[in-house]
Symmetry: C2
Subunit: 188 residues, 2 copies
DNA sequence: GTACGACGTAACGGTTGCGTTCCGCCGTTT
DNA sequence: AAACGGCGGAACGCAACCGTTACGTCGTAC
């Protein structure tokens, strides 16, 4: 019964509004204005701001990242880091993600939604990446997948989302090499 | 002329309010209420919310971190990571920092203030740490100090401020060992 | 062609915050 | 003793947004 095109307009309006003003200052009225839609159309779909954002965000966040398998750990790692760095340099994502992360620190529902989306996929990616490398003999058997995830995503997130410094291909290579060295030695 | 005790009350109220509701929803009225102070006392000191927060934050952020020098790179690194992890696990800091980081993405003035505070100190710490280690022959001469900072702070920030998973002393050791290995190999 | 229902518009009363102003109080300075 | 000035409190007009309601339009299903 609800018109699909209008739902889409609202969803993209929410994303853009989130990027521009953040969750804290996001207002239903502004979303309606931006989407060219009446407030009623929004309240017909969701009962309040939190519910609306949660539904839209979790929908976007749960789109799976393709798990790399290039045949070598170095290749997998570089591909993964490339994908993540591209994502974190995307205009909207780079605004929304840190904002929601910060919001999650004080809103358990947002935290849970993000954790489910992030952790599930990232942990899976990390475990697959490490598992493949261990199976190939490229990494020690006792390699810690969680540690690997921290080492891979941490510097990328820090550099791109926090320090907000551009990351060139050469930087990416250096980073990948460093992470590889770190994990190779991790059984010491 | 302005009473110092009142200024202090306002400052701490701002910090607590920032931690609880974030910059986006921080209101002068709430700060005044929390500080047990009239709005006039606030407007007598700052002309608006942005100016107030910037002044207070930059004041706090510019308190220098003691630069470690334990005599060995491993010692320096572990000490630094311990200090940073302690700071990031502090209740108020762990709420305020990601929030302001996210806000910085859309407010150039906040971005500049944070960059100045963060970058200046972190870069200095990174360069000193790496410099000492290189001088002692513990790291290759061409070690990239920026890369080192990314590798040291990235995983910590990711783990504590983003993923919000506790970091035990053993995890810290593993992380430090991994970073050391990464940097040792970075001249390859 | 009639009934249904989602749509936009407009308005509602209520809340919150803005930045400003005026007041009376009170401690300090002179 | 008098003047000064920061203080809290209260109220101002204004703006934004909340969540809800009523209304008229329009496309679709029956």
């Amino acid at each position: 019964m609800l018109r699909g095109d209008i739902t889409v307009a609202i969803r993209t309006a929410v994303m853009n509004e989130l990027a521009e003003v953040g969750y804290g200052r996001l207002s239903i009225e502004a979303v309606a204005r931006r989407a060219g839609v009446g407030k009623t159309a929004i309240y017909r779909r969701w009962s309040n701001k939190l519910e609306m954002v949660l539904e839209i965000i979790s929908d976007v966040a749960e789109r799976k990242v393709p798990l790399p398998d290039t045949g070598s750990f170095a290749g997998d790692l570089e591909l993964l880091m490339m994908i993540v760095s591209r994502a974190l340099q995307h205009r909207i994502a780079s605004q929304i993600i840190p904002d929601l992360m910060a919001e999650a620190a004080r809103n358990p529902q947002i935290a849970e939604t993000l954790q489910r989306a992030l952790r599930t996929h990232q942990q899976a990616v990390g475990e697959k990446l490490v598992g493949q490398a261990v199976a190939r003999g490229e990494l020690p058997e006792d390699t810690d997948a969680d540690l690997a995830v921290d080492l891979i995503l941490g510097p990328l997130y820090w550099r791109l989302a926090v320090a907000r410094q551009p990351l060139g291909d050469d930087d990416l290579e250096k980073l990948a090499a460093a992470v590889t060295a770190a994990l190779r030695a991790s059984s010491d």
